[in-house]
Symmetry: C2
Subunit: 154 residues, 2 copies
Amino acid sequence: MTAVTSLALFTTACSENKQPNNEGDLQAIFPKGNLGPAENFTGNAWNTPLVANDSTYNTVVGNVYFEPGARSNWHIHPAGQVLIITAGVGYHQVKGQPRQTIRKGDVVKCPPNVEHWHGASPDTGLQQMYIISNTEKGIVQWLQPVTDTEYNRK
Amino acid sequence: MTAVTSLALFTTACSENKQPNNEGDLQAIFPKGNLGPAENFTGNAWNTPLVANDSTYNTVVGNVYFEPGARSNWHIHPAGQVLIITAGVGYHQVKGQPRQTIRKGDVVKCPPNVEHWHGASPDTGLQQMYIISNTEKGIVQWLQPVTDTEYNRK
């Protein structure tokens, strides 16, 4: 009647001489996961599925760790998407709007059928959970890569 | 077309002499939030809403910080609930089943209309996000407190 998925932990050492901006400093909650395919991501984006789609919850949840400079392609969620930023610094942009800087503790709602991309800042990675509910409407439609010009435009 | 909710950050100092199990050690991602009402919780449970219910997402997301020993009442979610444990150690129990220990990185799915409770362990607090989708079916029905005997039964 209930399921607990135990995921191996990344423990982060507390050190006086730690290096800034590396993965350990981002206080990873979940395993690093699987490298996202190059056809959908620029740079290294690691995906850990947390909740698989089913007919009870109609919801997909997961975590993505974007290495510095990594970002998704432009894409659309037919049912919308919520991002929960748990560590680091990154960007989110809706097509035709200014790029937004997103940080630990931010919550981003991107409405259904709106073209957007998200990823890490150039110097600091990003840990972000994604929540897609109402998956009966669809999950994701991948589009073209985010060019360096688009990525760097404020 | 998009909204970023910036939430004040709890920064956690890195110290050689830190005390175990306190709030800082739980690496809070979100503000501490509002104290949950005594009619629904035993001990101190702090709630930070992250996503309010609406007709687009039909989803409620938030974070609860349970202080050591704090727990919810027994309760039911008509649409089920997903818990994402982001720090600390706690318990989750479905009525009639053994108490489960839950830790950082765990994902708990509690199906619709199943009586359950969750909270912190006696010695270590718990940071947990909750996700309730399909909110058109309802969000929560609160029931009786979890007695000390129930809380301590393994």
